[in-house]
Amino acid sequence: MSALLISGSGPALAIPVLAQLPAEIQFTAPSFDYRALAPMLVVFGAALLGVLVEAFVPRRSRFVVQVVLTTVALAGALAAVVLQAATSDPVQTAGVLQSSGSVLGAVVVDRVTLFLQGTILALSILACLTMAERTVDEGGPFTPQASAVPGSPAEVAARRAGLLQSEVFPLLLFSVGGMMLFPASGDLLTMFIALEVLSLPLYLLAGMARRRRLLSQEASLKYFLLGAFSSAFFLYGTAMLYGFAGTVRLDGIAGAVTGVGGVAVLQKDGLLLLGVTMVLVGLLFKIGAAPFHLWTPDVYQGAPTPVTGFMAACTKVAAFGALLRFLYVAAYGIRWDWMPMMWGVAILTVIVGSVIAIVQTDVKRMLAYSSIAHAGFLLIGVLAMDRSGITGVLFYLAAYGFSTIGAFALVTIVRDSSEEGVAGGEATHLSQWAGLGRRHPVTAGVFTLFLLAFAGIPLTSGFMGKFAVFSAAVANGAWVLALVGVLASAVAAFFYIRVIVLMYFTEPTGSEAVVEAPGIGTTFAIMLSAVITLILGLAPSLLLDSATAASVFLP
């Protein structure tokens, strides 16, 4: 497996700038391991191609071309990732250091990276299929023309003309590319660039809902402002860590932390601690951990539902990958300094997520708070600080990701009942879901499965995931965290069950939701998610095996 140089400035960065500049800066020619980079290159290449499609392909056929291009690119990248994971030399993945002479690692493609990239790609294929849905809502989930002011004549005209904002697919690809790079970053600058590449398209996507556009645009703006704020934190933290270590490379920071011969360097302790904290703030914002979670409910509610599903599943996978890499590679040496803070964050996150979810009346907001609670459970696994913790988190991410994509895809097909056979907007108010189990047993049954998985009931993937992270925590002495986790799970179970009660045991009052028959893409996404949720609950061995094999970071 390989760590790579994709920027020529590596040697210069490795030397503290202020100390002394070398008389003659030597630029080594960058060497690329194209095989390791192939999945990301495919995705970014297809994204660029998608932009060209927007420019040159006639409007009529754009949508189809974009969907095919995106799906094929994502599937191709997934195949490349799987191929690499299957054929790579196991010796090199056992945590052995590369001969570091030629490796200058802006991008590190190790087993963890491959696992996460595979997960992100598989999830984003499903997300792409739900975004391409046009059967439920004529014209799809996105606004016909994002630039038209909501309620303006221009918007009406755009809708009449049957316009489609098919730019969403290149945006999706750019975001997926960023997500693939995020956990693969070997230095903080690459990580920052990945963070921006994955975030900027998401800010746009969040604002492009077809219905309730003001809410959507508000969500977009809010996400953008807070996201920019957290990016600034991340960048500032990076600068401080550079000041401390003289390098932005993760292994370089780790080396500076432990010092020569394992003795910690205490002189610039303040820079180190502040830097780590600020970088963590940036990362915790992305994963939606309390107290940096406040954007989550609004953005999840306002964004077009397929985008919400994509954000909830894939962003979480990518951000946790980056968080794991930062904590386990760069900040491992001073874990005793940041662990108390992270314990607090984990406990606060599970409690805030579980408790506030109880009072939600909107299904998307409820799932948003549920995703906060899940971020907390994942953090418990992260804080195990050993291989079993990484294994647990990787497995949990995959399990949670599929349930989430499926659940949000399902939300898109539950609609307001309408008069003239035209599909209404999404019926997101929970009271509209009353009695759904009677009228649409299959839909309600599948949603129940996802809810049970979120609640961590045995025989679903959610249970195995929770078991894996809690068991890692207990094995490493963090049984208090596990206890808080299970108690929060009991609280969380209450609101998942409340939805089941609504769907099955409550007679509808007032407007009731109807289920629109979805197109083949959404059906496939929902069914595959349900099947995976069930399989991972019954026979998780296969995925656990690859998660265990993947649970070693290369520096």
């Binding site: 195995m464 809690f470 596990a482 009660v501 998780p540 061995s541 656990l544």
Partner: protein, 512 residues
């Protein structure tokens, strides 16, 4: 014998459930008969398995199957039954067809398939939980059982069903999740590895410290106490049992709650012998409160189903006392009590269901003088009630007597106080009988039919078993005793206090 008996028996109801769901929804007759057929085939297979069971080795796990399941987590698919587990599996497979028959007319058309399907799925989980020899598998099934019961109560129950179903689920989940932490921690106290959750690998561990063992014990015990249910975590039971359809109430109280006491005797005591002894005084006190409190509240109930639920709280108190007295009399009595209570409570609930089907109410005040109009119904209730109050000649008497004798040898005060519970039992059963069945015939009851053929088939097997076990309990005791002996050995193997042996009289070790 190469046939995987337990897997087969466990899968049969599941296949039945799938068949039921595949049938056309409108064909209620077919749905009922397929469901009944599946449960009867399961019962027949269980009977065949029982004949293969080697009674002489009833203390060991037989029909063992062990396969790797999730080696990364240490979980195996391991099944096997000793005497106690065999009897519990048999109890489950006998009660399920009875309940299906009892609910024959209770479920409205169109929703029957789901109802019978859920019952059959539940049967699979029940068999699995009693047969599991792997703590992880046990836990998974222990929790998974909640889902079918939740839907059975929530969809098919009475007026307050939603409240009852949610309360049931939340109580059980809370208990289960606390146990989850203990399950995980127990694994790391044990040898670990790919089969680290096998019960045999976790028995007789040397714990890092007493505190660890005690905390783990408490984690398990809490879940089982909620399940059993013991005072003060019993409050979900009266609601759930009163709102559930009577067939479901039978399975809930008759079998599901036994998982709690079954877990105490087969997991808590062998896995944490030291901590079990440490906790004995408190557990006995709580169980005693359950006995008396359950009985007193039963007397005060105006609803028949709630009354039966509270009598169960009282009876579960007896069972727990017998288990934690840690004498072989007491534990044999408790193990037998689990079976007997299953049958007598089942009979009571089912008769209550038949009454409710006629009158549309379970309020005791709504009945009177039924002895004359429906003598068979009244007689069934009386026999079941007499068994419940432990009249000699009825099965419960044997077990209650054994529990009290076994307890008296070690904790005379507890035994004496518990006998008060027996007196109260006579009160709540007989007074209720008097109110409902004696006196002048009420007008509405004059046209009532007595038991139909189907209803006779529901009640008669139960009454027969109750009397048979009351007169001649030896076959069941022979199967239970070796398993109890083994548990006793596991508990006393690390017994540090010789004074206990001094107090225990000659009864210790001999077969009752």
């Amino acid at each position: 014998m190469s046939l995987p008996w337990l897997t087969t028996i466990g899968l049969l109801p599941l296949l039945g459930a799938v068949a039921v769901w595949l049938l056309p929804k409108t064909d209620v007759r077919a749905v009922r008969w397929v469901a009944l057929g599946a449960s009867l085939v399961t019962l027949a297979m269980t009977v065949a398995m029982v004949t293969q069971f080697d009674v002489a080795r009833a203390g060991e796990y037989q029909f063992a199957e062990t396969h790797s399941w999730i080696p990364q987590l240490g979980a195996s698919y391991a099944l096997g039954v000793d005497g106690i587990a065999l009897v519990m599996v048999a109890l489950s497979t006998i009660l399920v067809p009875v309940c299906i028959l009892a609910a024959w007319r209770e479920v409205v058309e169109g929703r029957a398939a789901t109802f019978y399907g859920l019952i059959l799925v539940l049967e699979t989980f029940m068999i699995g939980v009693f047969a599991a020899r792997d703590v992880f598998l046990f836990y998974v099934l222990f929790e998974a059982m909640l889902i079918p019961v939740y839907f059975l109560i929530g969809r098919y129950g009475g007026a307050q069903r939603r409240y009852a179903a949610v309360k049931f689920l939340l109580y059980s989940l809370l208990g289960g999740l606390v146990m989850l932490v203990a399950v995980i921690a127990l694994y790391f106290e044990g040898p670990g590895g790919a089969s680290g959750f096998l019960t045999q690998n976790l028995t007789g561990l040397r714990f890092g410290s007493d505190v660890t063992e005690r905390l783990l014990f408490l984690g398990f015990f809490f879940a089982f106490a909620v399940k059993a249910p013991m005072w003060p975590v019993h409050t979900w039971l009266p609601d759930a049992a009163a709102e559930a359809p009577s067939g479901v109430a039978v399975l809930l109280v008759g079998v599901l709650d036994k998982v709690g006491t079954f877990g105490m005797i087969t997991l808590c005591l062998p896995l944490f012998p030291g901590a079990s002894k440490w906790a004995t005084p408190v557990v006995l006190a709580l169980a005693l409160v359950s006995v008396l409190y359950g009985a007193l509240l039963a007397i005060g109930q105006s609803d028949l189903k709630r009354l039966i639920a509270y009598t169960s709280v009282s009876h579960f108190g007896f069972i727990v006392i017998g288990i934690f007295a840690m004498t072989s009399y007491g534990q044999s009595g408790s193990a037998l009590y689990m079976v007997n209570h299953g049958f007598s409570t089942a009979a009571l609930f089912l008769v209550a269901g038949m009454l409710a089907a006629r009158r549309g109410s379970t309020r005791i005040d709504d009945y009177g003088g039924l002895q004359r109009s429906t003598p068979l119904l009244a007689g069934s209730f009386l026999l079941a009630g007499l068994s419940s109050l432990a009249l000699p000649g009825m099965s419960s008497f044997v077990s209650e007597f054994l529990v009290l004798v076994g307890t008296f040898t070690k904790y005379p005060a507890v035994a004496v106080l518990a006998t008060v519970g027996m007196v109260l039992a006579a009160l709540y059963i007989l007074v209720t009988y008097q109110k409902m069945f004696t006196g002048p015939v009420k007008e509405y009851a004059s046209g009532w039919k007595d038991l139909s053929v189907r209803e006779v088939w529901v009640v008669a097997p139960l009454i027969a078993v109750i009397i048979a076990l009351g007169v001649y309990p030896k076959p069941v005791l022979d199967v239970l005793n070796p398993a109890v002996e083994r548990t006793m050995q596991q508990v006393s193997s690390t017994d540090p206090a010789p004074t206990v042996a001094g107090v225990t009289p000659a009864g210790e070790g001999t077969k009752p």
